[in-house]
């Protein structure tokens, strides 16, 4: 299999989205998952067959992409642990969250050294708890020494 069919691409995107639903994320974030699966399927008959079979199973009787949200979840639970499910899940959990767009949406600031780290950018700006001691309380002593 050299390329995924547009149906396979569309369905895989919906599957990834149903597995890792973040309502605020655009489809674009999930397209990265599909692209990676496409790379893995390229020239690998076995993966191609896994995708074809997995989608056929999910589309029976109603195409997965036409299902409502809770029906999609039920369909996924039915195929959980199968090869196609595992392929999409394992790829999605890496590819989806390995993306600056998603980091931003989740509030993770990513690379920091080029900005001087966080030493002057909020590494200790939490203010809803009192500042705790940073040294061992000398009156209790350590279990060491």
């Amino acid at each position: 299999m050299s390329e995924l069919s547009s149906h396979a691409r569309e369905t895989t995107l919906r599957v990834a989205r149903a597995m890792y639903p973040h309502d605020a994320l655009p489809d674009e974030a999930y397209e990265k998952v599909v692209r990676q699966i496409e790379v893995e399927a390229r020239g690998n008959e076995a993966i191609g067959a896994t995708i074809e079979q997995g989608i056929a199973e999910l589309d029976d009787p109603t195409p997965f992409k036409d299902l409502a949200g809770d029906e999609q979840l039920a369909a996924l639970l039915r195929v959980e642990g199968g090869d196609y499910f595992n392929l999409v899940r394992a790829t999605a959990v890496v590819e989806l969250y390995d993306n600056p767009l998603v980091w931003k949406a989740l509030g993770y600031e990513g690379p920091s050294v080029h900005l001087g780290g966080y030493v002057t950018r909020g590494f200790d700006d939490l203010d809803w708890l009192p500042d705790p001691p940073i040294e061992l309380d000398p009156t209790v002593g350590s279990h060491h020494r």
Binding site: M19, Y20, P21, H22, L73, R89, V93, V94, L96, Y97, D98, V102, W103, L106, G107, Y108, E109, G110, P111, S112, V113, H114, G116, G117, Y118, V119, R121, G122, F123, D124, D125, L126, W128, L129, P130, D131, P132, P133, I134, E135, L136, D137, V140, G141, S142, H143, H144, R145
Partner: protein, 552 residues
């Protein structure tokens, strides 16, 4: 930098340039010995490191094939990644965090304190805390640990504020920002931390101790170190007397080379070390080199390990700042009334979004998973690290069904949790959750063990040759010019992160090697040179045997 000849009879050949091998190389070259340091990985420099979890992983991690078996969850979640360690000059010190507690007295005497446990292959160390204390002091000064040698504690970061307030909330008394191997102020030619939050990706500004830019360049400055990156050792060779003659390795050009050596020291981390010795079996050593005890590869320990993440209704931004600068000692003592022997530490931990997704709940999906990820900014985290029990059946063996890129059998890591490990993990999870609940966590998440960052015990020290692989100085009982210089030699694992003890033992071992060579008590192996071009520079007349020792 010298290039020693392949047939040089005086060199100490060290396998692996991490905490054990890098430190040993520095200590031995400082004492005047010629050292060839063979490292399978490339020589990356800090400017090449990337603040990006997966890209960095691909750059630095040991990704050669490994297999797993046994009932531990890692075998299911990460079947080909039993351990997360580095393959690069500097070894795993390139992306460690830096928590450095010492061991406690009773942790050297497990057969005394943990007696009568089913399935536990406990043994007392042949050394006590008192024997290692002077070397702990030297190791702490070398590494530059916070809270020692006049070095201040690190400041509280956001994640620590939650952690320490929680500690107070549940009544813990002994907590602080850690004995931590990161400069809070400039020291030893390296700057202070900029709290960039990237430890497990390599310290770009070098504020975290790593042999890559401390021990190894210092060893090079002595003019005695021959560092050979891209050199994967496949066999320790021996002669008809059962003495080591040198090592066979595949060099950076893919060519097989033999480096003759006076002494061979193996520090490949506790999976590769026993694998190399098992792969070095020969006529005199049918079950693997230095394995007359049958203990080589056995008693593999990986520490308790588990984590708790907690979500609050206010922001934490745990990823800002030193990821592990927080340490609680209260659960560390041996208190069997808790339903298990040994103890554990609670330590600060944060991961970035990519690794949080991979490790928080391996295999997890659906809204439960994504809602936790959506709590990322309001999340705090801690790690649970405790002593796991040595079991004979937890072991590294050769998997003859799978060969690596050099045709060598790959290591299989077999591990079953001991009931004591399970009881301790349950206690530790509960303790971590209670800690966060005491400061208002709205949700807590129990995270299962990661691929091992601490690998211990596969060539253990023992008083008697029949009980272990090496003696109190890491010298093989069966092969007196073979040494083990990493956490493989730990008799038991203790609760503490291992690196401080690895470094202390390497300093002590270097002293021992120097003394023993001077006294003429380490025999030499006899290699017959096979007629190949010995390569390298001609030996320097001032570096002949007998004059190489004791220069410092």
């Amino acid at each position: 930098m010298p290039r020693y000849r392949y047939d040089d009879e005086d060199v100490v050949a060290i396998v692996g340039s991490g905490a054990g091998g890098g430190t040993l190389a520095h200590e031995l070259t400082k004492a005047g010995h010629k050292v060839v340091l063979l490292e399978a990985g490339h020589h990356h420099t800090p400017d090449e490191f990337v603040n990006d979890e997966w890209r960095s992983f691909k750059q630095l991690a040991w990704l050669d094939r490994r297999t797993t078996s046994g009932s531990f969850r890692v075998a299911k979640d990460f079947p080909n990644l039993p351990a997360w360690i580095c393959k690069t000059v500097g070894g795993t010190t390139v992306h460690w965090a830096g928590c450095c507690p010492r061991f406690m007295e009773h942790e050297f005497k497990t057969s005394t304190y943990y007696d009568g446990m089913d399935g536990v292959n406990a043994l007392d160390w042949p050394i006590s805390l008192a024997d290692i204390e002077p070397y702990y002091e030297r190791a702490e000064a070398k590494i530059g640990l916070t809270g020692t040698n006049g070095i201040p504690q690190l400041p509280a970061n956001n994640n620590y504020k939650v952690f320490a307030n929680g500690a107070q909330g549940v009544g813990y008394k002994r907590f602080h920002t850690g004995r931590y191997a990161v400069n809070p102020v400039p020291r030893d030619g390296r700057p202070a931390t900029i709290q960039d939050g990237f430890a497990f990706q390599g310290s770009k500004n070098r504020s975290r101790w790593s042999t890559l830019y401390t021990e190894i360049p210092k060893a090079q400055a002595t003019g005695k170190l021959d560092l050979r990156p891209g050199s994967h050792v496949i066999r320790v060779e021996t002669d008809g007397q059962g003495l080591a003659t040198g090592v066979t390795y595949i060099d950076a050009d893919g060519l097989e080379q033999f480096q003759r050596a006076r002494i061979v020291a193996v520090a490949g981390n506790a999976i590769e070390t026993p694998r190399l010795l098992l792969n070095s079996a020969g006529n005199l050593f049918p079950d693997g080199l230095a394995n007359s005890s049958g203990q080589l590869g056995r008693n593999y320990m990986r520490h308790l390990t588990a984590s708790v993440y907690a979500i609050f209704d206010k922001p934490v931004h745990m990823y800002r700042g030193e990821p592990m600068a927080g340490h609680i000692e209260d659960e560390a003592p041996n208190d069997p009334s808790r339903g298990f022997v040994g103890g554990y530490y609670l330590q600060l931990l944060s991961l970035g979004v990519p690794f949080m997704a991979a490790f928080m709940d391996p295999g997890g999906w659906g809204r439960e998973f994504t809602s936790a990820m959506e709590g990322y900014t309001n999340m705090a985290g801690l790690w649970l690290v405790g002593e796991d029990m040595p079991q004979q059946t937890n072991r590294v063996t050769l998997n003859h069904d799978e060969l690596d890129q050099f045709g060598q059998p790959v290591p299989n890591v077999h591990f079953d949790d001991h009931p004591n490990d399970l009881a301790m993990r349950e206690h530790a999870w509960q303790a971590g959750q209670a800690l966060y609940e005491s400061v208002g966590a709205v949700r807590t998440i129990r995270t299962p063990p990661y691929p091992a960052t601490h690998n211990i015990g596969t060539a253990r020290m023992s008083e008697r040759a029949q009980d272990g692989v090496v003696n109190a100085f890491g010298q093989a009982h069966d092969v007196p010019n073979l040494f083990v210089s990493d956490a493989s030699q730990f008799t038991t694992g203790a609760a503490a992160n291992p690196t401080l003890t690895i470094v202390a033992l390497a300093i002590r071992q270097a002293e021992y090697i120097t003394d023993q060579l001077r006294a003429g008590s380490i025999p030499s192996g006899h290699a017959v040179w096979d007629g190949r071009d010995p390569g390298g520079a001609a030996p320097d007349a001032t570096e002949l045997p007998g004059q190489t020792v004791g220069a410092s």
